[in-house]
Symmetry: C2
Subunit: 501 residues, 2 copies
């Protein structure tokens, strides 16, 4: 290895350490910190971020990257060295585009937009948020111009979260999903055998919920010896190294689903980070390659595993033991159907596996419309409700339950939403490939066991971290590009059975 | 204010933020981090420490400090500006003395000595630790030469933790303590009415211990809205800002004292940090001025408050409610006597309020003997046992319960031990002054109330943070230097009553 590459690595390690320290401060802020500590904590995080940004965007770093790249031009494409240099080059170029003034403006606009959004949502008053959303839209428009694009203005925003993916590609896939999913949703509502999910809406003492969440996270392969389960208001997963990848959950005293599926979801994210190859440690390659691929791992555990019949045949008896009064009188089929109930509704984060995608498609379309000035911010509430009617067949009674429900537009996070639905599609495509390559996976899954599946995920996805782009990974694994077909096969089969269509 | 001072402040804030981030990483390491995360965490902390050290010891920082000092030469001695510059000048000079190589050597020697100490202690094998202690002694000898000294080699080591204090001063005070305390200890053992403390050695379920610890910490004035109580193996207090000062406790299932008095002790430390003036925020002045003064605040809450009759008259009924089987049959006097039992013993951290000081005096004397080559490391076990006999009248049966019990000598921490006993003396002297200035304090304390006492501590000690040296603070408050007399009056009065001498 060249001595320049060694020097580069030393710098990369240092910057990585600072970024992970910031992540620890953020985790602590959400889990343990008293509210009064907020101001000091934000100062501490801002200082670390500024330091890291200054170190990474220095001229010296640019020269190190380019010299190391020249030294290593013969390194194989899939080597750690070549992969790191590819990633650093791209990230360096993007970071240099972001002037300190622009970063400062983003922070100021979000700093005002966020509390305005909180208040607007609480008081169901879109007008209060509207001027801030106008500013956010201006900002993302400027960001798009700053990064530049060939085809569509939305491309560079999407690229931030799903590198290499084009808006046109997502649109084509989402349109195909929409076309296939609307009739299925209609069939379920009109012809399906109704599902009763009242059994998951009962009082469930939190201590037992915690014990069970711990049990199922462990069962699917989340490594608690290299992790930690904390309690928060808005659950997330984070990692400070592959040996310290943490999950968080929230507990509802009278609704079982959030703690069950939230824990499985975050475990899927954390298992990705736990599974990155040790040789990638202390570099930016030691994490999931994109938001969409990351989401594929969380959805795989939450839905493909966690909402499967085999899984509940294996684990429902223990759940019944913990909640004999609540669940003793309901058999596993009743529970399986309850946690798979399809119900067009207003709130994205409460949506079922099938209708969830409509919520994303709606946001994807409206984001582009605002970005391209095809939709005035003032007209957002009406446009939102029209699309709800078209896609889900329901209209929210208030903006709080409509266009004000998500935090993402209070910061310039345009381009993120589609990755949620892409995660569902990737997950189905990966799973179909996995079982075709190793039939043991399906046999085990029928028993609620994930050993072979997790081994496959480690081997084909986790270990690579960020070495490959999402598209490279999908090609490498499935031999083709992302397609909606496996997902449609999966949901059609599953929900036709459940709803006896 | 000069623009140079403003530039200096900006740098000071930045360095402070990094140091506090390191403190968060350290807190998380002890409280939540999975053991597997250790390697990455140490890398992260090392990177932050190196960055902070490099920023603080830069030539630019030295120039900023000196230019600001010249600009502000007319600022009053007790102004925040002059105090910060005094502190920075001293700290800068000391930090510049420490070469990167020497810091690296400290880290290497400790890195080997610590595990060797752990093993030696576990296997009662002093010989296994001996060569490492030889290295540690060499290192502290070099440190002393590096810092330089006028009178005694121990001075600069002590100065590290108790700025401005001289070895000769501590020796004179400790000798006086020894002279007065040995007869008192003998009188208690020989003539005192025996105290039965079996009531605190019973099974005490941890959930109730936690509830009660929370209750008494709150009662004495620890502000939970700006703090957090965590569980650890080795309790400590830490602060990330005056608005986020945390305490930790350990819980024994069959011994009540550690959680009670440990929580009060750490609360006393944290209340000091919570009480620093907001104008000192984000500077190194926003913390306790020395180890000894810090310890005075923890001992004040643990002993002067927490082991007083008034305190237990107020809070014992609630404790009895939580533990009716264990404590229902014992009255408050029996409990008060039990938690004040004097018992010469081997282990420092388990020692009572009175004999604790002997443990410190012993270490203070042996540290100097080793530092000055008056005691060969090989002879430490024998010297330890001789001193135990002289001071406490007991001899530990093993080195594990003798000279191997403390972690401090596995790192070059010489000079720290005396501050534990100084804390007891400062506390008694402060308390005597406080009640003489405000009689309400004593009246409230007889009812177990600390409102006036805490207000006095805030006003006279906490708010100043590190603006003044320990000696300046003691003079300012009590009109004279530190003396052992208030402490002797306090313990003589208290234990003569308890033991009916």
């Amino acid at each position: 290895m060249s001595s320049t590459y060694q020097k580069l690595l030393a710098k990369v390690y240092e910057i990585h350490d600072i970024n992970k320290a910031t992540a620890v401060l953020s985790w602590d802020k959400e889990t343990n910190m008293p509210k009064a500590g907020t101001q000091a904590r934000i100062q501490q995080m801002t200082t670390l971020r500024r330091l890291s940004h200054a170190m990474f965007t220095s001229d010296e770093m640019g020269e190190l990257i380019e010299t190391a790249a020249a030294d290593l031009q013969d390194a194989p494409y899939d080597s750690n060295e070549a992969s790191l240099i590819r990633y650093l080059r791209r990230s360096y170029a993007e970071s240099r585009l972001m002037s300190d003034e622009f970063v400062q403006r983003i922070s100021e606009v979000s700093g005002k937009a966020h509390p305005a959004w909180v208040e607007a949502r609480q008081t169901n008053n879109f007008a209060h948020f509207q001027p801030h959303l106008v500013e956010v839209v201006k900002l993302v428009q400027e960001m798009a111009e700053l990064y530049g694009y060939e085809d569509e203005k939305y491309d560079p925003l999407l690229d931030n979260f799903e590198h290499g993916m084009k808006t046109a590609e997502v649109r084509a896939i989402f349109n195909a999903v929409k076309e296939a999913l609307i009739p299925l949703r209609q069939a379920i509502v009109e012809r399906g055998t109704p599902v009763d999910d009242s059994l998951v809406h009962q009082p469930f003492p939190i201590a037992q919920q915690q014990a069970f969440a711990h049990h199922i996270a462990d069962a699917i392969g989340y490594d608690f010896s290299r992790g930690h389960l904390g309690t928060v208001v808005h659950p997330f997963a984070t990692s400070f190294s592959r040996d310290d990848a943490r999950i968080t959950t929230r507990w509802y005293p009278d609704f079982l689903n959030p703690s069950l599926f939230g824990t499985l979801h975050e475990s899927g994210h954390a298992m990705y980070e736990q599974g990155t190859h040790p040789d990638l440690a202390r570099t930016p390659l030691a994490r999931g390659t994109s938001s969409g691929i990351h989401e594929s791992q969380s959805r795989m555990m939450e839905n493909v595993v966690g909402r499967s019949l085999g899984f509940w045949q294996a684990h429902y008896p223990k759940l019944q033991e913990l909640f004999p009064t609540q669940l003793g009188g309901h058999d596993v089929m009743a529970f399986y159907r309850a946690v798979n109930k399809v119900q067009p509704s207003y709130i994205r984060v409460e949506a079922d596996e099938l209708t969830y995608n409509f919520h994303i498609i709606l946001r994807f379309e409206l984001e582009q419309a605002m970005l391209n000035n095809d939709l005035a911010v003032a007209d957002l509430p009406a446009a939102w409700n029209d699309k709800m009617q078209e896609l889900l067949g329901v209209v929210p009674p208030t903006d709080t339950e409509g266009c004000l429900q998500d935090v993402h537009w209070s910061r310039p996070g345009f381009g993120y939403f589609p990755t949620y639905a892409l995660g569902n599609l990737y997950a189905a495509q990966f799973y179909e490939t996995a079982v075709s390559q190793n039939p043991t996976i399906a046999e085990e899954m029928a028993q609620g066991v994930t050993t072979a599946l997790v081994a496959w995920l480690r081997e084909n996805i986790h270990q690579y971290g960020r070495k490959f782009t999402p598209a490279e990974l999908v090609h490498q694994i499935t031999g083709g590009p992302l397609t909606h077909e496996p997902f449609m096969r999966y949901v059609t089969h599953k929900f036709s059975q459940i709803y006896e269509l």
